[in-house]
Amino acid sequence: MSDPRPLQASLKPRASPPGRRAPSPAGAVRALAAGRVARAVLVAALVVGGWQAVVLVAAPPPYILPGPGRVAAALVGNARFLAENALVTTLEIGLGLVLGVGLGVATAVAMAIAPAARRLLLPGIVVVQSLPVFALAPLLVLWLGFGLASKVVMASLVIFFPVASALNDGLGRTDPALLDLARLAGASRGTTLAIIRFPAALPDLVSGLRVAAAIAPIGAVIGEWVGAAAGLGFVMLHANARMQTDLMFAALAVLAVIAVALRAAIDRLGRRLVPWVEG
């Protein structure tokens, strides 16, 4: 048996020349994270800077467009209030995502397994999507009450279509060569779906999830506008009626942060699910 040590020796990292340390994996991740955070901070600074510039140049009245200073003051002054309501909205968005994505995936898979189901379901889905959300929201509140349920259903309705549509497209676009292979090997429809079509459609699912993440907050907020006792949409509506435009913008800013964080989380999930796709 050959001596394994030379192989091990060749696998050990070379000693770096003096005065220059090779980056360890942990250090590389830290540098990358710091770069990402720095970029986020830079973008935020640019947005705030642009906003302040508009306020300085156009000088709109504060009850139409308050400056970043006033909004920051409202944010700090109502921090606890905003945090409580942000929690409610985040919960609605989270539950809405779970329900909406679950329903969307189930529908797309059902349509992929049974083409008959597809002919039945697809027109119905398109109709539901085209109904203005404002028309449905009061009905939901009437049926489900003013609690969490109506907001979660509202959010999931809004999320359902992009996910179902994207996954449906993905499942319909599998490489024909792979399908031939499955057929030649005698795989059942279910097996083909599980081990070939579904994994191949994962990038499309992730795209659908990205769109869903962007519009999930909208669904939750609209649900709150129509009947709620808490949540950022409720806060915005109330502040608007009370002429507290700075508080309204503060709630909007918090909602924007939630939306961006959600998008980042979905991106991370996407990279985990489909590591073979770039970007």
Binding site: P60, P61, I64, F146, A229, L237, H238, A241, M243, T245
Partner: protein, 327 residues
């Protein structure tokens, strides 16, 4: 004596010419002042409804035109927008609520009240007539729905206090546009924000009559439900007194001729010719300000104190800044 050269115009032609000139002159004089009429944009507080009767009738009966005004009545898509739009100079007059005026002033909007449209409160707390709530004290532990107007929770707190309750004794939910339906279906036990001349009638027509508690009878100072506001720096606009004169004329005309007034209202708004609006019309008649320009400064001051003590407003400029009587 040589005769003067005869003019090529016969006497008949001269007479005809004079008549023609007279006719042209008369028709020029008869041209309506529309060419000289001043435009005025009025943003309503809500969709056109019988609460706006003096404005609608003044437009329909030509009272505005007689004052040389071409008034446009615009319903809003967002009820909180009209005061902001007037403050920003996008419109001339807004219809808003007296309690909201203080919030607007506290938010540094340069507005001032110059007239009143409806001089009594219209807001109520409504419960089902055959429900378990017979007095305000019965609201303890119950749910109350409200629509967002910005001051209803203050109204409610004062009314609860008058019954020995605190806001912590009730649960409050924003039901937005579903005021009548949420109390009729029992989704909430009571609603605040429904109007005594509208939602109550709506419920009666649906077969689920309501019982009303009136804020001014339960601890809230009396106030004007609908007022007219304009920008503070435009109060010397000569159109405003003319506008008020036409509104006053319409309010009196409706008082004297309620049937003709209703016919005029539905002529301008055929879609509102139904039982609900007809009843609302009758119920609102006694509540229109017959002296729209008049200001009861003490009343406005009392309400300012009420809102400041309730904590809704931190501080206000002197009343003369934001509530005026035009001459």
């Amino acid at each position: 004596m040589p005769r003067l050269p005869a003019l090529a115009v016969s006497r008949r032609a001269l007479l005809r010419g004079a008549a023609a000139t007279a006719a042209v002159a008369a028709s020029l004089a008869a041209v309506p002042p529309a060419f000289a009429a001043d435009k005025l944009t009025v943003l309503l507080d809500w969709f056109v409804n019988p609460d706006h009767a003096p404005l609608v009738v003044a437009a329909q009966q030509g009272f505005f035109a007689d004052e040389g005004l071409d008034v446009e009545l615009v319903p809003p898509s967002d009820p909180a927008a009209p005061p902001r739009l007037v403050a920003a100079g996008q419109a001339d007059v807004a219809v808003t609520y007296q309690p909201s005026l203080y919030e607007q002033v506290a938010a540094e909007m340069p507005l001032a009240r110059f007239g009143t449209l409806v001089e009594t409160p219209l807001n109520t707390v409504i419960v089902l007539a055959d429900g378990p709530v017979k007095t305000l004290a019965d609201l303890k532990g119950r749910t109350i729905g409200f629509s967002v107007a910005g001051f209803e929770d203050v109204l409610l707190s004062a009314m609860l206090r008058s019954a020995g309750l605190t806001p912590a004794d009730v649960k409050v939910i924003n039901v937005n546009f579903a005021l009548s339906s949420s109390v009729m279906t029992g989704a909430v036990d009571a609603v605040v924000g429904g109007y005594r001349n509208f939602e109550l009638t709506q419920m009666a027509l649906e077969g689920k009559p309501g019982r009303a508690f009136f804020p001014e009878e339960h601890g809230v100072p009396a106030y004007d439900e609908l007022i007219l506001v304009a920008r503070r720096d435009r109060l010397d606009d000569p159109r405003l007194p003319r506008f008020l004169a036409a509104v006053e004329r319409a309010a009196l005309w409706i008082t004297n001729n309620p049937e003709a007034g209703w016919k005029s209202f539905v002529a301008a708004n055929p879609s509102l010719d139904d039982e609900l609006n007809a009843r609302a019309w009758k119920d609102t008649l006694p509540r229109f300000a017959k002296r729209p320009a008049a200001l009861d400064r003490g009343r406005y001051e009392r309400f300012a104190t009420f809102l400041t003590e309730a904590g809704l407003i931190k501080s206000l400029p002197p009343i003369t800044d934001y509530a005026v009587e035009l001459r």
